[in-house]
């Protein structure tokens, strides 16, 4: 019973098994390498000089419903970070994003929004240095306004591998600012 079909089947099965084992090894080695490079403990970042601005929008593109006024927030910030440890042989790209977290109205509620992000494709671009950088997005809340709440700013990252799991983390430094009171 050594006809073509069984031969192709056997070869296919072996190829599948082999590639699964190799993929497993790649994933394991990647995780070990990242742990060794201490990527979850990057502490040299600085996020400073955060200046919020605010405006009232009445367009649905800016979160307004039925032309009701909606507060939109932007920030300017200084950022220094060295993300080169995130790049190894299984890194396809790093997506880095600046988030602000602030409390909601009720107990147990919370919000997190992205002000700025960037796709980094190589190690050469992984040293970030920005002064008075403007946020990329105009941000609105589920509520009508931000009511002058305090926000915590973090620099977070996501490694996209060539093969394997997506890996997430954030640098240890945080920044703070208070939304403008605009009511």
């Amino acid at each position: 019973m050594f006809n073509l079909v069984t031969r192709v089947q056997t070869a296919g099965n072996q190829a599948l098994t082999a590639s699964m084992v190799v993929t497993g090894f790649v994933i394991l080695l990647t995780l070990l390498q990242l742990a060794q490079d201490n990527v979850w403990g990057i502490s040299t970042t600085s996020i400073t000089n955060i200046q919020p601005t605010s405006s009232i929008k009445r367009s649905s593109q800016y979160g307004s419903v039925n032309r009701k006024p909606k507060e939109n927030s932007k920030i300017q910030f200084d950022l220094d970070a060295d993300l080169t440890p995130l790049f190894n042989w299984n890194t396809k790209q790093v997506f880095v994003y600046l988030t602000a977290e602030y409390p909601g109205k009720s107990e147990g509620s919370s919000n997190k929004v992205t002000y700025w992000d960037k796709i980094i494709k190589s190690k050469d671009e992984a040293k970030l240095h920005y002064v008075n950088q403007r946020s990329k997005y105009s941000v609105w809340d589920v509520e009508k306004s931000f009511r002058g709440r305090n926000a915590t700013v973090r620099l977070e990252w996501n490694i996209q591998p060539h093969v394997g799991p997506l890996i997430y983390g954030s640098t240890e430094t945080t920044g703070n600012f208070q939304f403008l009171r605009n009511e």
């Binding site: 919000n111 589920v142 394997g164 799991p165 997506l166």
Partner: protein, 165 residues
């Protein structure tokens, strides 16, 4: 070829299909997603995901984090969309998400249903992308979008069953 042989062949085929089906459904139960493995169809997440890449989904997280890449479905649109969470707002009962494709200039508001300004974590999501295999899914794109490939493949399968009995 006698009847016994033919029945055996049929049973083997039925076994292959049913075990594939059982494996797929089991994966669906484990991941809590009706479609636990998806193939990327658009370039809106490039360079992270290209057309033909395979994504493994998981749908048992209670909440999404900002930066998660999620797959969602909009009512009335049949194609699931793979995009990144840009904002999340949650209380103890419910979580609202705004998403955006890395390669798109603006957020997904225009992709959502009319009057819909957020995704609802519980209702709209198929899963969160946890793992990634490049390129292998391209074969399904070829099959579904290229008729020559589709019928060529069908013809090959047919011919092989005629010639290699």
């Amino acid at each position: 070829m006698n009847l016994r042989q033919q029945i055996t062949q049929f049973l083997t085929l039925a076994y292959v299909f049913s075990s594939a089906f059982v494996a797929w459904k089991t994966l669906g139960i484990v991941t809590n997603s009706h479609s636990p493995i998806v193939v990327v169809l658009s370039g809106s997440m490039e360079p992270a995901f290209q057309r033909g890449d395979i994504l493994f989904l998981w749908n048992r997280d209670k909440q999404q984090k900002v930066g998660d890449i999620v797959v969602y479905e909009i009512e009335g649109k049949s194609i699931p969309i793979v995009h990144r969470v840009l904002r999340e707002h949650h209380n103890s009962e419910k979580q609202l998400l705004l998403t955006k494709g890395d390669n798109n200039a603006v957020d997904d508001l225009s992709l959502y249903a009319k009057k819909q300004s957020y995704l609802n974590r519980k209702e709209d999501l198929i899963g969160t992308v946890k793992g990634y295999l490049p390129f292998i899914g391209y074969i399904t794109i070829l099959i579904s979008e290229n008729i020559y490939f589709k019928y060529g493949l069908l013809g090959l399968v047919g011919l092989s069953s005629v010639f290699f009995e």
